[in-house]
C-alpha cells in the first residue's frame, strides 16, 4: 500500500510548529531540520500576494535521490522515500540531484524527512502531522489523500480560482500531495520537476555488479554527473534569484552546511 501526506497550503500559516515537532519527536540534533518555511511574496506594496513554501521531502515515486544513491541508504517503501543514515556514505549525490533540493548534508551524511519511519513503524503518527495547529497536514492512504486533496481544491475555487492539487503526477506521483492556492511557481516549486534519466538506473546497476564494462560505467556516470551539473546550474540561478527577492523568515536562516 502507498502512503502519502496531505499538505494544504491554503491552511498552513507558517507557524513552524511542524518544524519543531519533527526535531523534538525525532530527537534531531542542532543544525538538523527536515522542514523549512520559506516566505514568498509577489507584487509590490500594497498589491501583494504571498505565502510560505513549506519545504520538506516530496517523497517522489520516481525518486532521483534513490536512483543515484550508491549505497541503498535511500530507498522506497510504501510509496515513501526512506533514508537509513547508517548506510549513507556521505557522497552527496542525493543533495546534488534532488529536483526539489531537499536532502542536505548534516554531520557528513544525508539528512531529510524519512516519513517518521521509526515513529510510524512503532505505531505512532508523524510528529509534524499531529501537532499542526492549522491542521494543514494529514497522513494516510495515498488514494484517499489524493481524493481529499481534490475535494479541498474544489471547495477552494471561490477564494482561489487557481487552486490546484500538486503531486498527482510529478516525479511519478508524489508522497506529499499539496493543495496549492496558486500556481506552484509562486512558491518556487517547479511545476514539472525534471525526471530521472533512464541512464541513472543503469548506473545503479553498474555500481553493483562490477563485472560490467568500464565503458558502460563511464557512460552511466556521465549521466549522473549531467544531472548534478544541471542541478548546480539551477541552484546558481536560484541563488541569483534569491538575492533579487526580498525576505526570508527568521526560520529560514540557511544554516545547514553541505
Amino acid at each position: 500500500m502507498a502512503y502519502a501526506f496531505l499538505l494544504d497550503m491554503s491552511r498552513c500559516i507558517g507557524c513552524e510548529a511542524c518544524v519543531v515537532a519533527c526535531k523534538s519527536g525525532n530527537q534531531l540534533p542542532v543544525d538538523r531540520q527536515y522542514i523549512k518555511l520559506i516566505e514568498h511574496t509577489s507584487g509590490t506594496f500594497p498589491d501583494l500576494t504571498g505565502g510560505f513554501q513549506n519545504h520538506r521531502c516530496y517523497h517522489c515515486a520516481d525518486a532521483t535521490c534513490v536512483a543515484v544513491c550508491p549505497t541503498g541508504a535511500l530507498f522506497k517503501e510504501d510509496g515513501l522515500t526512506r533514508l537509513n543514515r547508517d548506510a549513507c556514505s556521505g557522497c552527496g549525490y542525493c543533495v546534488q540531484s534532488c529536483p526539489y533540493e531537499v536532502p542536505v548534508m548534516s554531520d557528513g551524511r544525508s539528512s531529510k524527512c524519512d516519513a517518521c519511519a521509526s515513529n510510524v513503524g512503532a505505531g505512532g503518527s508523524p510528529w509534524c502531522v499531529t501537532t499542526c495547529p492549522a491542521q494543514a497536514l494529514k497522513y494516510g492512504d495515498r488514494d484517499e489523500i489524493l481524493a481529499e486533496a481534490k475535494e479541498r481544491v474544489v471547495a477552494l475555487k471561490d477564494r482561489y480560482p487557481k487552486a490546484q492539487v500538486y503531486g498527482e503526477t510529478q516525479a511519478g506521483g508524489l508522497g506529499l500531495i499539496l493543495v496549492l492556492p496558486d500556481d506552484p511557481e509562486t512558491l518556487d516549486i517547479p511545476a514539472d520537476p525534471p525526471a530521472t534519466p533512464v541512464v541513472v538506473d543503469a548506473w545503479k546497476e553498474v555500481v553493483q555488479p562490477l563485472s560490467m564494462g568500464a565503458t558502460v560505467l563511464a557512460a552511466a556516470g556521465a549521466g549522473v554527473l549531467g544531472i548534478i551539473a544541471r542541478r548546480n546550474h539551477m541552484a546558481e540561478l536560484r541563488e541569483v534569484d534569491d538575492k533579487k527577492k526580498a525576505g526570508v523568515t527568521a526560520g529560514d536562516s540557511d544554516t545547514e552546511e553541505v
Binding site: V30, L48, P70, N84, A134
Partner: protein, 763 residues
C-alpha cells in the same frame, strides 16, 4: 544555499564507487535488505515505559494543556493534551520546545548572593537556607523602615501567582505589577469594562465555530503563534469566513486575508470611527440589539457624523471605497462578524479610546452573546485555598483578575498607602502600571520603594527606557531575581533564586475563563534539576521567615492542591486519572441570560455604554475621537515590533532548539527604502533612535511587505546577558530603542509605538 562544488563531487563520485564496492563485499546490497538490519532505530517511546504527566505549557502565557512523556526518567517529548480545550492535542513550535527549555545548559543552577557591584554579575553560590534567610532579613528591614508598600513585586508567566498575587497580598504591598497589564492588555480590558462591564479576559471570546467575518487590527495570528487562536482562525476561514486584516505590514495573517488594509500606523481610531459612521449613516447596524442592550446611540449618531470614510481616507492612507466596502462586508454578516480585541494594544497612548471604538463597533454589529459573534466567558468554579484575610487585596489585578471582577477600587496597603504608580492621578483606572513604579524608585515620590522582587520578568527587555530602569536598580536597597535563566537584569540582583521549570514542579491550578470553563493542572514530570526550587516553595519558605505563617499552613503543595480540588469533587489523583483537565459548563449566549432575567453587561446602566459618563466626568472623551500621533522625524522610521512564531517575548531566545531554528530577528524595511539607503537583505545594520540609543547588529530584510514609513522587528532579541550563550548579542532589541512612551490616561498603559529609528553602520 551553499552547495558542493562539482570538483568535489567528482572526487566523491570515485570514493563512493569504492564505498559501494566495500558495502557489496559485506554482502549488503542496496535496497531494503540492509534496512532490515539496522533501520529504523526503535523510537524513544519503545525504549521503556512511557509515563505521562499533565501540565500546562509555560513557553508562553497562553497555557495550553500538555501531556508530558517521560521514559526512563527522561522527559522525551511534549504533546498537546487532547482533552484540553486550549491545545486539543496540538501545540505550537515553542510548546514543542519545552524540553529544550528545561535542558538549557545556561540555566541558573544554585541560589546566589552578590559579591561584586550591582550590575557586575558577580555572585557566590550559597545554600537555599542562606539565600532565604538573607532575603527575609532584607525585606523585613525594608518593611520596618518604610512599610510593606516599599517592596515592589514584579511577576510574569505561570508561576507569578505565588509572588505577585499570593505573597504580595499576604505581605501587604499594592505595588505588585505584571507586564501583561500596562505593557500589554490594560487598555483593552479597561475599555471593555467601561463599555460592556467586563474585561475581555485571557481568551478573546470569538465564537469561531459560526463566525462569518473576522477583523484583525494588528493581530498577527501565525506570527503570534498562540496555538488555539491559530487553530480557530484557520478553521473558520477555511469554513468560508471572510477575513479583514488591518496592518501596516503584509503579515502572515494579511497574506490570508480577503481584504488587507495597509493602514498608516497610528490612525486606527480614524478607521474605526469611519466604519461606525458607515454602519450608522447607512443604517447597517443591528438596531434592535442596540435598542434593547445599549445606551447612548443618539450621542454616538451625532458624534459620528463628521467622521466619514472620506475624512478617514485622508488620515489612514486607505481609500474611502476600501473603508466603505469592508464596513459592508462586516454588516452583511452581522452578528456573525466581530473585530478581534487582540492582545498587545499599548501602542500610541490613546489606546483605551481606540479599544472603546472597537467595542462600540462590535456592539453595533450585535456580536455580544450572539452565535457566531462573541460569547461570554465564564470562569470555572473552584474555591481558593482557605487563608486569613489578605493585608491588601487585588494588588496586581490585570490578567489575574477574573471577568466581572471590578478593578475600580484602588487597593490600599495596611498602612493606608495607595499604589505608587499614580493611579487616579495620572490615569483613571486599571491594574498597577509596572512602568509607573520605576520613577518612584528613583525619586521616592510619592514614597520610597526600596525593594524589588522580580519573578520571571525580563526587566530590561520589556519596560521601555531601560536606562531609567537601570538607574532605579542602582538606587534600590534590595533586589531579588527569581528566574530560570541568567537574564540581563539578573546581573543587577543582590540575591538570585534559580527556579525549577514547569516540567519539574507542581504549581497552582490554572483556571481558564472560556465558553466551557476549565481547570488545568501542573504536575512534575521529573525532579528539579540542579539546586533549583519551585516558585511556590520559595514563596512559602520566605513567608514562613517573615511572619506570614498563617497564609502558608499547608505542608506540601499536594495538600494545597487537593484542598482546592475538593471543592469541585476532585483531587490531584482523580484529576490526573481523568486526563489532567476538569471542564465545566459555561453560559456563553445572551438568550441564557434573558431566560434567567439577568443582564450580562455589568455597567452602571446594566447595558452596553456607547457613551461613557465616567469618562466625561474625568474630563476625558465620552465617545472616542481620533488624536493624531507624532510623526517620525525626517530620515527616521516608526519602530513597530511584534512576534516571531518561534519565540515568546524575551524568554525563549536562548532555548537551544528555538535558537537553532531562529537565532536572531530581522529588520523589515520596505525594499525601495532599503535600496535608496543602499541596503539589501542580509546586510547587517545598527539601529539608532532619535535619542541616540542604539541596538544591533540586525540583518536587513528588504521586503515589499511593509509600508515605507515604518520598520518592524520581532520583540525579545538583542539581549546583553553574557550567561545566555545563545541569545547574547543576537539581533536588535526594540525595548532598547524605546526612549519614551506615552501614558494612556484611562488605563495606565504605556504606548510604545512612538519611537523612531534610523539605520546606521556598525559600532
Amino acid at each position: 544555499m551553499a552547495r558542493v562544488e562539482l570538483e568535489i563531487t567528482r572526487r566523491q563520485f570515485l570514493a563512493a564507487g569504492v564505498a559501494g564496492t566495500a558495502l557489496l563485499g559485506t554482502g549488503m546490497g542496496p535496497g531494503r535488505s540492509n534496512m532490515a538490519m539496522n533501520y529504523p532505530d526503535p523510537p524513544w517511546f519503545s525504549q521503556g515505559d512511557v509515563v505521562t504527566t499533565y501540565n500546562y505549557c509555560d513557553m508562553c502565557p497562553w497555557k495550553c494543556g500538555i501531556a508530558v512523556q517521560t521514559v526512563n526518567g527522561q522527559v522525551m517529548k511534549i504533546d498537546g493534551n487532547s482533552l484540553d480545550p486550549k491545545s486539543r492535542g496540538m501545540l505550537c513550535g515553542r510548546g514543542q520546545a519545552g524540553v529544550s527549555f528545561m535542558n538549557d545548559p545556561d540555566r541558573l543552577q544554585s541560589p546566589m548572593i552578590r559579591t561584586g557591584e550591582r550590575g557586575e554579575g558577580k555572585f557566590r553560590e550559597v545554600s537555599w537556607e542562606e539565600a532565604l534567610d538573607y532575603t527575609a532579613e532584607k525585606i523585613l528591614a525594608i518593611k520596618d523602615t518604610y512599610g510593606p508598600e516599599a517592596l515592589a513585586i514584579f511577576g510574569h508567566t505561570t508561576g507569578d501567582f505565588w509572588f505577585t498575587d499570593y505573597f504580595a497580598q499576604a505581605w501587604g504591598t499594592p505595588n505588585a505589577a505584571k507586564p501583561s497589564s500596562s505593557l500589554c492588555l490594560s487598555p483593552r480590558d479597561e475599555a471593555s469594562t467601561l463599555t460592556l462591564g467586563f474585561p475581555v479576559g485571557g481568551h478573546e471570546p470569538m465564537d469561531w465555530d459560526e463566525i462569518e467575518c473576522i477583523t484583525l487590527i494588528g493581530s498577527h495570528i501565525g506570527e503570534d503563534s498562540r496555538n488555539t487562536v491559530m487553530q480557530d482562525f484557520i478553521e473558520s476561514r477555511s469554513r468560508g469566513a471572510q477575513v479583514i486584516v488591518v496592518d501596516p505590514r503584509f503579515s502572515s495573517a494579511a497574506a490570508k486575508a480577503d481584504h488587507w488594509l495597509p493602514i498608516k500606523p497610528g490612525t486606527d481610531t480614524a478607521l474605526l470611527l469611519a466604519w461606525i459612521n458607515v454602519l450608522i449613516t447607512e443604517d447597517r447596524f443591528d438596531r434592535s440589539y442596540i435598542d434593547e442592550w445599549a445606551t447612548g446611540l443618539d450621542e454616538l449618531t451625532t458624534h459620528i457624523q463628521e467622521f466619514t470614510p472620506e475624512w478617514a481616507a485622508g488620515i489612514t492612507d486607505l481609500s474611502a471605497e476600501q473603508i466603505r466596502t469592508t464596513a459592508r462586508v462586516m454588516s452583511d454578516r452581522l452578528p456573525q462578524a466581530a473585530i478581534m480585541p487582540g492582545r498587545h494594544v499599548t501602542w500610541y497612548g490613546n489606546d483605551s479610546q481606540r479599544m472603546r471604538a472597537v467595542f462600540i463597533l462590535n456592539s453595533l454589529l450585535g456580536v455580544y452573546g450572539r452565535h457566531g459573534g462573541m460569547y461570554f466567558n465564564k470562569s470555572p468554579f473552584l474555591d481558593s485555598y482557605p487563608h486569613p484575610p489578605f493585608a491588601v487585596t487585588g494588588s496586581s489585578g490585570g490578567c489575574s483578575a477574573e471577568p466581572g471582577e471590578e478593578s475600580a477600587e484602588l487597593p490600599l496597603g495596611p498602612t493606608g498607602k495607595a499604589r505608587a504608580d499614580g493611579a487616579r492621578d495620572t490615569f483613571l483606572r486599571g491594574p498597577t502600571a509596572m512602568q509607573e513604579l520605576i520613577d518612584p524608585m528613583i525619586t521616592d515620590d510619592p514614597y520610597r520603594i526600596a525593594g524589588l522582587m522580580i519573578y520571571g520578568v525580563n526587566l530590561l527587555n520589556s519596560i521601555p527606557i531601560p536606562s531609567r530602569t537601570i538607574e532605579a536598580l542602582k538606587k534600590l536597597d534590595f533586589v531579588l531575581a527569581v528566574d530560570v535563566l541568567p537574564q540581563e537584569h539578573v546581573a543587577w540582583a543582590d540575591v538570585v533564586f534559580p527556579e525549577a521549570t514547569f516540567l519539574e514542579r507542581y504549581d497552582e491550578l490554572s483556571t481558564v475563563p472560556y465558553k466551557t470553563p476549565f481547570i488545568q493542572m501542573r504536575e512534575p514530570a521529573v525532579a528539579p534539576m540542579y539546586d533549583t526550587m519551585p516558585g511556590w516553595m520559595m514563596a512559602r519558605e520566605l513567608g514562613l521567615r517573615v511572619g506570614l505563617d498563617a497564609y502558608f499552613k499547608w505542608e506540601t503543595i499536594e495538600e494545597y492542591l487537593d484542598i482546592r480540588l475538593r471543592s469541585v469533587g476532585s483531587s490531584l489523583e482523580k484529576m490526573h486519572d481523568a486526563g489532567g483537565v476538569i471542564i465545566q459548563e459555561g453560559k456563553p449566549y445572551l438568550d441564557e441570560f434573558v431566560a434567567d432575567g439577568e443582564s450580562p453587561f455589568h455597567t452602571a446602566s446594566g447595558k452596553i455604554e456607547l457613551s461613557v459618563a465616567e469618562l466625561a466626568e474625568a474630563g476625558l472623551d465620552a465617545i472616542p475621537v481620533y488624536e493624531p500621533t507624532e510623526e517620525p522625524p525626517d530620515g527616521y522610521y516608526r519602530l513597530l515590533y511584534g512576534r516571531n512564531p518561534l519565540h515568546t517575548f524575551a524568554k525563549t531566545q536562548n532555548t537551544p532548539v528555538l535558537s537553532d531554528l531562529s537565532p536572531e530577528n530581522e529588520l523589515w524595511i520596505n525594499e525601495d527604502e532599503a535600496a535608496a539607503l543602499g541596503y539589501v537583505s542580509g546586510d547587517k545594520v545598527w539601529l539608532e533612535n532619535d535619542n541616540g540609543d542604539r541596538s544591533g547588529p540586525i540583518a536587513v530584510k528588504a521586503t515589499q511587505r511593509i509600508r515605507k514609513d515604518a520598520v518592524f522587528m520581532a520583540h525579545g532579541f538583542g539581549q546583553n546577558a553574557e550567561g545566555l550563550t545563545l541569545a547574547n548579542g543576537r539581533g536588535a532589541s526594540d525595548t532598547k530603542l524605546m526612549s519614551r512612551y506615552k501614558l494612556d490616561p484611562i488605563s495606565g498603559g504605556a504606548g510604545m509605538r512612538i519611537n523612531f529609528v534610523r539605520l546606521v553602520e556598525g559600532d
